[in-house]
Subunit: 717 residues, 2 copies
């Protein structure tokens, strides 16, 4: 039953009301204001900057509450989340003050209700630490998403408001105040002892159904023993089996799902042997997810807010994108600490699809000093997050936040905020692994470009030499397709990128505040690799080529480094608005880029793969490539890989390799090919590996041989 018909929003500055307007709940009040004031699409040109003048406003919501209470009813105002600090007033009386957007807040309003009621929510101005410069450090004493304060793919745009479900609840004697369900699996993972913890003054009945709809339990005993259970598996490893439960009192009910699974973070194979000689340090921390006793190679991507206006995110927003992740053969999304902690529907969909989730707390790239005030809010928010999400089988990893142990953050293992998070996860969800941050020792973040001028190497050269236990972030930018660019820039500007225009705001230039630098449009890198291009369309095409081949190279190399390596998670999956250039593989709102398809190819469970020494070759040079058969599946495979080289229109057969039997979840290394490239004026060569499992193509650059470099005998051919 809906007790609030409509909401009115409003804003004030220096206690003076500026305006009132209709408001969507849930939503973001700044978006309501923008609609009322005719702001055009936030993606267009520099429209996003118009929100900056609203930053120091105080906002409010008002609604009439119609409620006829019966004797004995206890009536509660409940909100699942309001961003960020707020008061709730009923008929002019403050009934609630709360700081923090991820914790539920409620107030007993029974004694305040009248015949007609005015419910008001006052939202304080956005937190900005006094003394902080504009940017993410303003939020380093708050649990608000740091990304709102500006990032290299997110404009500075601070939002707030009633972003989660907010309602009136009637609590009679049969009201189920709390209901949660936990389980212990037998050592052989075949049986489960389930415990329901139900708080209700009247008797409740519990029902459990399996996925066929068959009832496997009905009764009032909260201790339930189930035999021969189906386990929940992640994508590619089995069925994401979910049981469905209902708890009912006379007029109230709760329902939920159980996915039985055991999750551990275990040492990567071989890492106990390092370091090998004295003086010796510790072995690398564990980075391998073990699900139901099986080591899983993580293939995934970094998930960021799919909308700037996070209050508008719906189940459908999530669903479209998670389907794409699953279709790209991914099995994990890393929910990055700079973003929101997603709404329930995100985790419900991940449960259903077998998509594992690495969940970070809202800390990113800052030094969150452990002041009493900050630790108090963090404890409240983190506890709420853990208790809300720990029931989801998809939730496989808690993490304190992003890149906190690097010099741009300067937190350490001694930081009280991270010691507190470790403590809370231990107390509330000890069975789920906890990392203080990412990366830890042995794990890696970056790079974020195809070619690094500092070391004069492309990712083809760099990653092959690396030996990390987990690649948790890596990215290659591309320039956004012209069709998309024309939705954010007028044609003239879309065709002529330049710094100090809206191109900069949309991250084509000046990433990380280095004004004038051409990140993420990366003309310099394209010029270096391909030479000067004739027109902008050529730059777009080349950047997309680099993103496709670069991401394939890193993903496949990480897979080849298994089992020493256990994770490949690119930066990043999606984006919250239309960037002009960037690392995401899904453009806003849900537009797969070419790189998406390249990644999808590189993550197929069974596939032939080639470790190629370089991206660019000179005609006549030797192309060296090592053959591999990658197998992440639970089945053994045997295949024949047929290798071809395409130059111009010619398809040349190089050799056939029978892989022999490749056991489940194992890779097989094959021959090292030495292919002499012809003297051709073709600008690319393509290495093609065909097999029953499918084919893999690598499109490499071939540069014209400089005359003096051509050996005499070649010229004599």
């Amino acid at each position: 039953m809906k007790y609030f018909q409509t909401w009115t929003g409003g804003c004030s500055l220096n206690e003076k009301i500026i305006q009132e307007f209709p408001a969507d709940v849930p939503g973001n009040i700044q978006l309501d204001y923008a609609k009322a004031n005719g702001f055009a699409d936030v993606n267009w040109m520099d429209n996003c900057t118009k929100f900056q003048e609203l930053e120091d406003y105080t906002w409010f919501y008002r609604s009439e509450l119609k409620y006829e209470k019966k004797p004995g009813d206890r009536i509660y105002f409940v909100t699942l989340g309001i961003e960020y600090e707020y008061d709730v007033l009923l008929n002019g009386k403050k009934i609630l003050h709360h700081i923090g957007m991820f914790s539920k807040a409620e107030a007993d309003i029974t004694d305040e209700l009248q015949n007609g009621n005015l419910m008001e929510v006052y939202i304080y101005p956005h937190p900005k630490r006094p003394g902080a410069l504009d940017g993410r450090q303003q939020v380093d004493q708050s649990c608000k998403p740091a990304v709102e304060y500006g990032w290299d793919w997110h404009p500075r745009l601070l939002v707030s408001g009633i972003w989660e479900e907010t309602y009136i609840e009637t609590r009679n004697n049969d009201f189920i105040t709390a209901c949660s369900c936990s389980y212990v699996l037998s050592d052989d993972l075949k049986n489960a002892d389930i415990l329901f913890e139900i708080s209700c003054l009247e008797e409740t009945v519990i029902e459990i159904y399996d996925m066929t709809g068959e009832q496997v339990y009905y009764g009032t005993d909260p201790h339930i023993h189930l035999e021969n259970i189906h386990l929940w598996w992640c994508c590619g490893q089995g069925e994401a089996y979910l049981y469905h439960w209902k708890v009912r009192s006379q007029f109230d009910s709760r329902e939920g799902r159980i996915g039985f699974r055991e999750i551990r973070l275990v040492m990567n194979e071989g890492t106990w042997e390092e370091p090998s000689s004295f003086p010796k340090s510790r072995s690398f921390p564990p980075a391998t997810i073990e699900l139901n006793g099986r080591r899983i190679f993580v293939k995934g991507s970094n998930w960021v807010n799919p909308e700037i206006f996070t209050g508008t995110i719906t189940r459908e927003t999530y669903h479209q994108q998670i389907v794409l992740a699953k279709e790209a053969n991914m099995n994990l999304l890393r929910c990055w600490g700079g973003a929101i902690v997603n709404k329930d529907s995100f985790f419900e969909i991940c449960d259903e699809m077998g998509m594992m989730v690495w969940q970070e707390f809202p800390l990113a790239c800052n030094n969150y000093i452990g002041t009493p005030a900050y630790l108090k809010v963090l404890e409240q928010e983190a506890s709420a997050i853990i208790l809300r999400l720990k029931q989801h089988p998809c939730l496989v990893l808690w993490c304190g936040g992003n890149e906190l142990f690097n010099k741009w953050s300067k937190m350490t293992d001694q930081s009280l905020a991270l010691r507190l998070l470790n403590k809370l996860c231990y107390e509330l969800d000890p069975k789920t692994p906890f990392l203080m941050t990412s990366p830890l020792s042995g794990m890696a973040h970056g790079g974020y470009i195809f070619y690094d001028p500092q070391i004069d190497e492309s990712v083809f050269e760099t990653v092959r030499k690396c030996r990390f236990t987990a690649y948790c972030e890596f990215g290659i930018p591309s320039i956004t397709e012209m069709e998309q660019l024309r939705t954010i820039f007028p044609e003239e500007l879309a065709d002529h990128p330049q710094p100090k225009t809206a191109w900069e705001l949309h991250h084509g230039y000046g990433a990380w505040g280095h004004a004038g630098e051409d990140a993420w449009i990366c003309f310099g890198i394209i010029d270096k690799i391909f030479g000067k291009q004739i027109c902008f369309a050529d730059y777009i095409e080349k950047s997309q080529w680099l993103q496709c081949e670069g991401l394939k190279c890193i993903f496949e190399e990480a897979r080849r480094q298994k089992p020493h390596c256990s994770m490949a998670v690119n930066w990043c999956f999606n984006e919250p608005w239309i960037t002009a250039a960037g690392q995401s593989i899904i453009g806003y709102p849900c537009h797969p880029k070419k790189a998406y398809y390249a990644v999808r190819d590189a993550l197929r469970p069974v596939m032939p793969s080639a470790r190629i020494e370089h991206f660019s070759f000179v005609a006549g040079e030797m192309l060296t490539a090592e053959l591999w058969m990658l197998n992440d599946s639970c089945e053994e495979v045997e295949d024949t890989v047929r290798v071809f080289l395409f130059v111009d229109e010619t398809k040349k057969h190089i050799l056939d390799w029978n892989t022999g039997i490749v056991p489940a979840n194992t890779n097989r290394r094959g021959h090292k090919l030495q292919i002499e490239l012809p003297f051709s004026s073709a600008q690319s060569v393509t290495l093609l590996l065909e097999s029953e499992a499918g084919s893999s193509m690598y499109r490499l650059l071939m540069l014209e041989a400089e005359k003096e470099e051509i050996p005499a005998n070649a010229l004599n051919m």
Copy 2:
């Protein structure tokens, strides 16, 4: 008042009493048994093995308790520590069952007291995990010192009993049930806000005195503001200033001390800059102790049990040895996790002397699986340890235990036991840094020999190339002096070391169970470096030479690597019995070895030092050495270092170096000397650095030049 006059001990096996005998309380029941049965000195030959047949005994203590209670008295039995699991019975009725030797246990016995009373303590057999092999893994589900189960310098000898003070306490209304004191310092560290938490039914008075005996507070208010406080400093950095407090009710009182200080673990200088390029991992965890805002270079040693029979340790045992550590210019003792957590007097002495303490919980070199039973005892024991010790200013570092993240232990950051310890330290003592284990990334343990045949290097070559943030364990063994050897072996055996004799039991051979290997006697290394020796006395002398020069080399090199390096802590300081060969620098019971004096020299606050490339040279070769002036003091220094080379009786002046002004807590690098060694038949050369701050001598090996290696022009000289 002493309510127990004497204690009788006894033992039983399979519920049959074997024997009764007088018992010392506090003490160890096995030692009482040994005395009653005429066991000779445990150090002699294989006497220690006689205790193995007692391992599965049940032990008991009995005493008559005389107590005349007055109406209103509440009478308690209190023990500060009984090893390890026990029942306490009064007049045949069980009043207490307890597991854990580091937690106080008590029972209200008021209603059980009669005119004559029999107090009994039953000690369960030593914990041994079913299925574990003999050795430390037997104790991997207990909080008993792992070292008792055998180590490479400690025989297997399991002890138990009433090892700490145990008494009867009368608690009237004015009994002070609890009394603790904490403080918060102002940002400038000049003022303190002190809070006493006192639990007493009657009013209490608080007095505080400074070190001159002057009263600085008298009153009943537990919130006390003190201005212009004196800070507590560690050795070498200032005075270990302690205030003395008393809390009194009418008939009861408590007293204690406060040392005002701020302790942090901060990043080593330069470590934020690493790693420098992508893909990048985290920066090393912090390993620099900052005391009162000043970075301290830690010079210390690893402390182990000073007695096998830990119940016999007294304040005097501790005092003698800590004085030696202070005189050796040390400022920290690492209380290693395999040992006991020391009695209060250890920490009181460290408080007084400014000796910082790195305290580990009782976990070492095992995988302590987080079963509910283990976690319960660990929580109780760790909480008791933290609450008992956190008041001591000397306590600067909590650590989960020894080498838990290495392959011989196989614990990880995910281990529940270590996550629990983080939680407890966070909750009970958040201002003191906490490490899960040692070593962490960047920190190093080992090696433990002068020359490593695996890499064909001596410590002179190895350590110079290392770049660790902290050297927390490193050691060089020497053979024990003949005079000492004759106290444990008959003359014939003392002169003729052999495996499969008591030499093996005393760690001359077969360390770590590698039967037949000559660790720690290290004949092989001596033969390799010096050639075959004629008699055993020569081996003793050579091994001591290596221990002296090796430890000096490592300590001084670690100091030269400051500020990237912040700690040099050798393995180990003391030993619990007379070993035949080993790494300690203080022999049992308190006998400084030659290496002690070498270390003392290498740790002088201000000293000239030389980075010498090798230990052994060939006559006629070039000796390369870099000059340094080391300054850990709080004063700037300026000095002239005069360099001499001794060969045979000749003292050759090489050069003088004026160091210029070397600021406080800073080192200065000087010239790199190239000294051509003469063609001499001398077996050693000595490099002597003289300065006002004192002189440093390095005694290096010189080998005879092989004829064919002598250059022609040298022969013509």
